[in-house]
């Protein structure tokens, strides 16, 4: 048997990552497809595998509010949610980021009603990009576990003090079982020391927290929040490098560039779809086509620098969005496009919208996206937003 490697789901991997991070308080409410995570954590606390207060709450709004209360006395806290639950938390999310509480939350990416759907897409978290949380998206269960540990280190850093959301695609990651290495507790303890913060309620050092502001100082608070998020980029990269040195797994910080060095056409991915796109890109490379993949890991802060640099080397870029901002385009595309415009990049662009409400994205569809991009190079085709594999007639 292989040492420290077990066959578990993404949900269970998150539970192990949380256990190893030793939170003082967990406050969570179950929701498909996150449920297994909070069930496992509840069992771990009950069995004595975790020394932690597990708070049963009556809603997601209460879960995050309770996490905030715990964080405000200096406790390391964890919560987890998905979809409707995340949206129900939305008010408290701005509260937590404005209060600079470094809570770590797992979000199982799931579609948003109506129509009611328990299946995966990324419309839930992408609709909350502006809530002031760091958002990372993972590709497999190992990365999920590892990013929970990294998330505490990043969120709790004195220059950051910002809550962080670790996103896993619902079902595709949460309910798929695979081999995951469980790090040794001692190594995690070494990497992630006890949470110490000056930003807490304390009798010894009393200070005002979670207060009101007036028009003459609110902007300054928001400036500092934005600056902390921008400063986190350096911390994210350093944390990932340190993690790689200690645990042997380095995820390359803000983005991972896959076969991009000499690529003509690059597809931008977020989350688990990256894996399937890797496979297709390798097949096309074997046929001599110069294609690559840009795996965006962080949506906030945004990897603007990396995308601007990449845009100077390539001729076409496509963005897969399991999301649509109605009346415009996919949200990942909007963000990528903003970076491209700052670089004055003249590349062929296309936004591919699909995989909504859990629809599978096939290798054949991905291959067609790459072919569309290659055909667009040096053409006068306009940049378009295309719903792929659409089963209704359109006038487009």
């Amino acid at each position: 048997m292989k040492k420290n490697k077990i066959f578990i789901s993404g949900d269970e991997a998150v539970a192990h990552g949380t256990r190893l991070s030793r939170p003082h308080v967990i406050a969570a409410y179950p929701i498909t497809p996150q449920t297994i995570t909070v069930e496992r954590l509840s069992e771990m606390v009950e069995n004595g595998d975790m020394d932690c207060d597990y708070m049963h709450v009556e809603s997601e709004h209460s879960a995050l509010s309770a996490a905030m209360g715990a964080s405000s006395v200096g406790a390391r806290t964890f919560t987890a949610t998905s979809s409707q639950g995340l949206l129900y938390m939305a008010e408290a999310m701005h509260y937590a980021s404005g209060g600079r509480y470094p809570i770590v939350m797992m979000n199982a990416n799931r579609s948003v009603a109506l129509p009611w759907s328990i299946y995966g897409d990324q419309r839930d978290s992408l609709s909350l990009l502006d809530s002031g949380w760091i958002q990372v998206y993972v590709e497999d269960a190992q990365e999920a576990l590892d990013m929970i540990i990294q998330a505490y280190k990043i969120a709790e850093h004195a220059k950051v003090l910002t809550p962080m959301m670790v996103n896993l695609d619902g079902f595709i990651l949460t309910h798929t079982y695979e081999m995951v290495e469980i790090p040794e507790q001692e190594m995690v303890d070494k990497f992630l020391p006890k949470f110490e913060t000056p930003n807490k309620m304390s009798f010894e050092n009393p200070k005002n927290l979670a207060f009101s502001s007036q028009p003459d100082d609110n902007t300054e608070f928001k400036y500092q929040q934005n600056k902390a998020m921008l400063d986190s980029i350096e911390i994210i990269e350093k944390t990932d490098q340190d993690f790689g040195e200690q645990f042997g797994r380095y995820y390359q910080g803000m983005v991972e560039e896959i076969m991009c060095a000499d690529a003509d056409a690059v597809l931008v991915t977020l989350g688990s779809i990256t894996g399937t796109v890797r496979v297709v890109a390798e097949q096309l490379r074997a046929k001599g086509l110069k294609v690559g993949v840009l795996k965006i890991r962080y949506m906030r802060p945004f990897p603007e620098k990396e995308i601007m640099a990449l845009s100077k080397k390539i001729k076409a870029i496509g963005v897969i969005d399991k999301d649509i901002s109605f009346g415009y385009e996919g949200t990942i595309y909007t963000n990528v496009n903003s970076a491209l415009s700052k670089a004055n990049a003249s590349v062929f662009k296309k936004n591919f919208i699909g995989g909504l409400g859990g629809r599978d994205i096939t290798k054949a569809e991905i291959e067609k996206m790459f072919m569309d991009l290659l055909e667009g190079i040096d053409s006068d085709k306009p940049a378009t937003v295309e719903f792929f594999n659409l089963k209704v007639e359109t006038n487009d």
Partner: protein
């Protein structure tokens, strides 16, 4: 990459079997595996699917299983034409039945029959057929060794269930090892 589709009814342990195969491949042999159920709500008694992907290298492909190398049918009342989706000339069906000849729709395909219900009733006293079908698949496919399969049972199942399920896997493996040679000769 080899792709296996498991057909069962909610509560029959099809997803457990798909995971046992993944555990055998990933934890007890030097292979990589993904195991997942058909995504969505689960209902006891309703037809459900589970999948296992096995490869010698890390599996990045997260798309749905389209074509299958093996289709394992744990409950013969599920046999119907929709089962032919994703079937190629090389696909092998492994079916829990005493009478494979009565299924006209499968007559042009490679079919191996195993009386998993009989084995389960004999050893377990209950018609829980997932580990018998698992043993049959291991014998016919050689995807993992018998030893790895038995280790997966020891690792994953409740202590009270281990001995009987090991007996079931061994029995099904033995019965199907004979079938394997006829299949290959054809």
């Amino acid at each position: 990459m080899k792709e296996i589709r498991w057909h069962g009814r909610g509560g029959q342990g099809g997803f457990t079997a798909s995971r046992l195969l993944g555990i055998a491949a990933g934890m007890f042999q030097d292979k990589h595996a993904l195991a997942f159920p058909s995504f969505g709500p689960e209902r006891r008694g309703a037809p459900v699917l589970a999948f296992t992907k096995i490869d010698d290298k890390k599996i990045h492909d997260r798309s749905e299983v389209i074509t299958c190398d093996y289709v394992v049918v744990m409950d013969e009342t599920l046999i119907n034409p929709t089962m032919l989706k994703g079937i190629t000339d090389d696909t092998v069906f492994i079916i829990n039945t005493k009478n494979p000849d009565k299924y006209e729709i499968l007559k042009n395909y490679k079919v191996v029959a195993v009386d998993a219900t009989g084995i389960a009733l004999d050893i377990l006293g209950r018609p829980i057929t997932n580990t018998a079908m698992y043993g049959a698949l291991v014998a016919i496919s050689g995807l993992v060794s018998l030893d790895a399969a038995l280790e997966s049972i020891r690792h994953e199942m409740k202590p009270s269930l281990i001995d009987k399920n090991i007996e079931i896997v061994n029995r099904a493996y033995e019965e199907c090892s004979k079938v394997e040679s006829t299949l290959k000769n054809n």
